[in-house]
């Protein structure tokens, strides 16, 4: 455990790799698609054959600019491509086309939400575009296979400043980044498919004996899940603290420099790989096969205009404007389309709160079953607005509305028509309700006895009988009338 007498500050920066959701690769026209049989999405360009030339995918640049702009970065007016040289079998040219000294975006920030409403601004050092490498496949006893489907997929590398000081901040930033790139349509960011990968840089600043001791900076490569990121950061904080405690004079940045560690998924620990001094000399130089990219003002403005409202701003608007709770607003701003659905329904005249209840009730449940976002379950803004309007006008009760919602999602169509066809419209007719009340009372003598006995069981038993009546009416009975009739027939006071 960390000794409270030592004032320990973890200092953490992140490199985040994001594969962009383009139809084709960064420098050729091969399909950018995960999961196809090995080496099926390849061509002479992305497998680096002699004499071929890369041609830039403008869509990838567009998406990267969008992310850079949303990260409040300064977007470069001129950017270029550089070659980063290193030998590896999954890198067919033995150099990677990347950006060295003139990245697309520089000096931005992203707000990492902390406790409810609070945020921490994490500075973004740069975001640059490059091509992804292929994959070495170790599924053969005597050989290593190379799958080049991923080679040349556009990859955005986002580098933060080491502004995070706790695992919670790291996780918040990582999640905010994940939400942002999906929000912008820049990436699917599916971590199991390697579409978003983290590389944290971690060390500790320990105030000890009037001096600040800095532990060696550790970089951990290629973390493919939030859990791996969280475990890595937690593990490193403790490992470095213990290593420092064991050797406070030796385990220091100035003596040991930086090192690379890998993450062992099974043991949830990091393991030593190499000292950073042994790192490659990448011999960067401008790629003569590509021309520079001029990002002129009209282009920059078009990008900015296309970004729209970002998640945190929208969440604030929902809390202030729609009077939603933090939890509700947060749930509705996980992706752009769900909020868009809500906003469209409200624009069509629906009451926001009623829409939200529908979306976060049955909507969230269905989305959860299907493993998709609420917007993807397939309800239109018009249907949502209509159903919310029926609720507001008392044409339907909440229970019946949930049934109509499910039918609309399954079959689409007008909620009003569906409710009418299925006999789910609210029933106010005293005669019909009275019949259901009588049936419920006759069928449940124990509950009736409990209610009439008063005491602890009364409330629960009354609720049970209410439920029975509503069930008999298939949710259509007007609840106020049910309550009134039940009370009068059971002989208990009409008001609480």
């Amino acid at each position: 455990m960390i000794d409270a007498a030592d004032n320990v500050t973890p200092v953490i920066g992140l490199e985040i790799h994001v594969e962009l959701a383009t139809a084709t690769k960064m420098f050729c026209r091969c399909r950018n698609h995960f999961g196809d049989p090995p080496n099926t999405n390849v061509c002479p360009v992305c497998i680096g054959m002699p004499g071929v030339l890369p041609v830039m995918n403008a869509k990838a640049v567009e998406l990267a600019l969008k992310v850079g702009t949303a990260l409040n970065c300064t977007v470069a007016e001129f950017t270029k491509w550089d070659r980063k040289g290193y030998y590896y079998p999954d890198l067919p040219k033995n150099y990677q086309i990347s950006q060295y000294d003139l990245p697309l975006s520089l000096n931005g920030w992203l707000e990492a939400p902390l406790a409810e409403g609070a945020v921490k601004k994490i500075r973004i050092r740069r975001a640059h575009l490059e091509e992804d490498a292929g994959k070495n496949v170790h599924d053969h006893p005597a050989h290593t296979g190379v799958d080049l489907n991923r080679a040349g997929v556009p990859l955005l590398e986002i580098v933060t400043e080491p502004d995070m000081n706790a695992v919670e901040e790291v996780m918040s930033l990582a999640r905010a980044m994940h939400r942002l790139v999906r929000w912008l349509g820049a990436s699917e960011a599916n971590m199991q498919m390697g579409q978003m990968r983290f590389e944290p840089n971690i060390n500790l600043h320990i105030a000890h004996g009037g001096a600040i001791h800095k532990t060696p900076i550790v970089e951990v490569k290629n973390l493919n899940s939030f859990r791996a990121l969280e475990r890595t950061v937690e593990y490193e904080i403790h490992r470095q603290y213990e290593a420092w405690q064991a050797d406070p004079d030796g385990f220091r940045l100035e003596k040991m420099g930086k090192q690379n560690r890998g993450y062992d998924d099974a043991r949830e620990q990091t393991v030593f790989q190499r000292e950073k001094e042994e790192a490659h000399d990448y011999r960067y130089f401008p790629d003569p096969d590509l021309v520079g990219v001029v990002v002129d003002r009209p282009w920059r403005e078009r990008i900015r205009a296309g970004i729209g409202e970002l998640p945190l701003a929208r969440r604030g608007r929902y809390m202030d404007g729609y009077k939603l709770t933090f939890k509700e607003a947060d749930a509705l701003t996980q992706d752009a389309a769900t909020g868009d659905l809500l906003d469209s329904a409200v624009a069509a005249g629906a009451d926001a709160k009623r829409c939200v209840n529908l979306l976060l009730g049955r909507g969230a449940a269905i989305a959860n079953e299907r493993g998709c976002s609420i917007a993807q379950i397939g309800i239109t803004p018009a249907a949502l607005a209509e159903l919310a309007g029926m609720l507001s006008g008392g044409t339907i009760n909440a229970t019946a509305a949930a049934k109509v919602f499910d039918t609309v999602v399954l079959e689409s169509g007008s909620p009003m028509v569906i409710a009418r066809e299925q006999g789910l419209l609210a029933v106010r007719d005293g005669g019909a309700i009275e019949a259901w009340v009588d049936t419920a009372i006759a069928a449940n003598p124990q509950a009736v006895a409990d209610v009439q006995a008063g005491g602890k069981q009364q409330k629960k038993a009354f609720g049970f009988l209410m439920g029975q009546v509503m069930q008999l009416s298939r949710g259509t009975a007007e609840p106020g009338e049910v309550q009134r009739l039940l009370r009068s027939k059971l002989g208990i006071p009409v008001t609480d």
Partner: protein, 502 residues
């Protein structure tokens, strides 16, 4: 046979189009010439006889059925072996790619074929286009058709020798520092390095990507205009190739340029230059003067050639070129590692690095290794600023000099190479001497300009002497017309070595 090899490409084209010669007969005649003279020259790495005959028969059928056969219909051409073809092999004269078959065809070659040309074969070269004599071929050297004991120049030595010995109607080469123009000069033929970005590099195996250009090697200036017109123009597969309209370079070719101002860069006439060549260039200037041109003295200070007290030659341009070209080469050639294609060592290997090392040790020749090592060094951290960045700054200064010079003249007239064709083996021991072969040509690549090399006559010993015309970017039409003016006035055109007359 003889009557056919007397024809220039343009004349042969017209004969085929007019029906007096069939494409099959044309290919047959060149195959016969190859059978007779190729053993003494060694211009080809591969002759694609069967395919060429099929193509020729197809052209003939097309013509007989009244369909157009294209502006190069039926012309048998030779292609430098660093231009990818989806048929035959593309070896770059390297053991590394000795059996490499490209699944695609270079844009320039595809355009020639689309215009009706027939690819007769792939020509020898310095390995990966690194050299000035074709002696760096990984297979064997090529002989100069004018004197078999001499080199044809390089790196496009096979293409120049093939045109000179009339083993094809015309050829394509590539020029990174003079690799079309210098062998053209050594072999008494015409060669052009177009403006950087005039011809697509797609399918040209890269050496120095910011310098490489594909260009024609031909019997005369008109043939050069014919081929250039077919290969030039934008290509979506090459971002560095400009999508700028291509005119018909033949239309105004015969029309002399009025009020032509010919600049003589004074730095190029130092004591490094062979006296006989110097006088040939001055004679050529007089020819232009007799045609009404003005001769202008211009200066290219950063392309200056210095000779010290001991006769040692030095040049900023050569130093700059070798940094830039080798840096790019070290990266371009990194892909030949035995993993995906090409040569892979047959020896046991310990690990992947051992596989890389053994494969590259076996596959590359010594000049290629030298350039990879030097280029890697120049790009290494700690040396990058002092070498690569400084070279880029020098490159800019060299380009500025040309821009300034073209404020005073329309084109430059200068030598192509400091000497005529040297003997096989004469310069192989000293790479630096070999590098100086490029002293008059590399500035043009560094500045991205077009350069035309054409014969200016023969030396006393009977070897061809070349002259070079250099123009501003995209002034190919001007260079061709000026070249044609010289040909007509001097009568020096279509030079033929003795071996073609037997």
């Amino acid at each position: 046979m003889n009557d056919l090899s007397n024809l220039s490409a343009l004349e042969l084209r017209d004969a085929i189009a007019g029906g007096t010669v069939s494409a099959v007969r044309a290919v047959d005649a060149y195959l016969e010439a190859i059978a007779r003279r190729e053993p003494a020259v060694g211009a080809y790495n591969e002759v694609l006889a069967e395919r060429a005959m099929e193509q020729a028969a197809a052209i003939d059928r097309k013509r007989q059925s009244g369909r157009p056969i294209g502006p190069l219909g039926g012309l048998p051409l030779a292609i430098k072996d660093n231009l990818c073809t989806s048929y035959g092999r593309t070896t770059c004269a390297s053991k590394m790619l000795a059996n490499f078959q490209a699944p695609y065809t270079a844009t320039a070659v595809a355009r020639l074929e689309a215009a009706g040309a027939i690819v007769l074969g792939k020509t020898n070269m310095d390995e990966f286009a690194m050299g000035s004599s074709t002696e760096n071929s990984g297979f064997r050297p090529t002989a100069n058709p004018w004197d078999a004991s001499r080199v044809p120049g390089g790196s496009s030595g096979g293409s120049a020798a093939a045109v000179s010995a009339r083993l094809c109607a015309a050829a394509l080469g590539s020029d990174t520092g003079g690799s079309i123009r210098q062998p053209a000069a050594f072999c008494g033929v015409v060669g052009m390095k177009p403006t950087y970005g005039r011809v697509s590099r797609f399918g040209l195996v890269a050496y120095g990507s910011s310098l490489d250009q594909i260009g024609p090697v031909t019997q005369n200036v008109a043939d050069c205009a014919l081929l250039l017109g077919a290969i030039a123009g934008g290509d979506p597969a090459d971002s560095t190739c400009l999508d700028r309209p291509v005119g018909d370079y033949l239309i105004e070719l015969e029309k002399p340029i009025e009020h032509l101002r010919v600049g003589l860069p004074r730095e190029f006439f130092s004591q490094a230059l062979d006296a006989e060549i110097a006088s040939s260039i001055r004679l050529a200037a007089e020819v232009y003067q007799s045609l009404g041109a003005t001769i202008v003295d211009v200066s290219l200070p950063h392309s200056r050639i210095d000779v010290d007290g001991e006769g040692k030659v030095s040049s900023y341009a050569v130093a700059c070129y070798y940094i830039v070209a080798m840096a790019e080469a070290s990266s371009n050639l990194a892909r030949y590692d035995g993993v995906h294609y090409g040569h892979r060592t047959a020896r046991d290997v310990e690990d992947i690095v051992d596989l890389y090392c053994k494969t590259r040790e076996e596959g590359f020749g010594s000049e290629v290794k030298r350039r990879i090592l030097l280029g890697t060094y120049a790009l290494s951290s700690g040396y990058y600023d002092a070498y690569y960045l400084k070279a880029l700054r020098v490159r800019r200064l060299i380009k500025n000099d040309f821009d300034a010079a073209f404020g005073h003249c329309d084109l430059l007239l200068c030598p192509v190479a400091p000497t005529t064709a040297f003997r096989l083996g004469e310069k192989t021991a000293d790479p630096l001497t070999m590098y100086l072969e490029d002293i008059y040509t590399i500035s043009v690549n560094l500045a991205g300009l077009p350069g035309l090399s054409l014969p200016a006559g023969l030396s006393k010993t009977g070897l061809p002497i070349g002259m070079q015309l250099i123009g501003p970017v995209f002034s190919e039409d001007r260079l061709l017309r000026a070249g044609r003016m010289y040909e007509k006035a001097s009568g020096v055109s279509g030079l033929r070595p003795e071996m073609t007359k037997k």
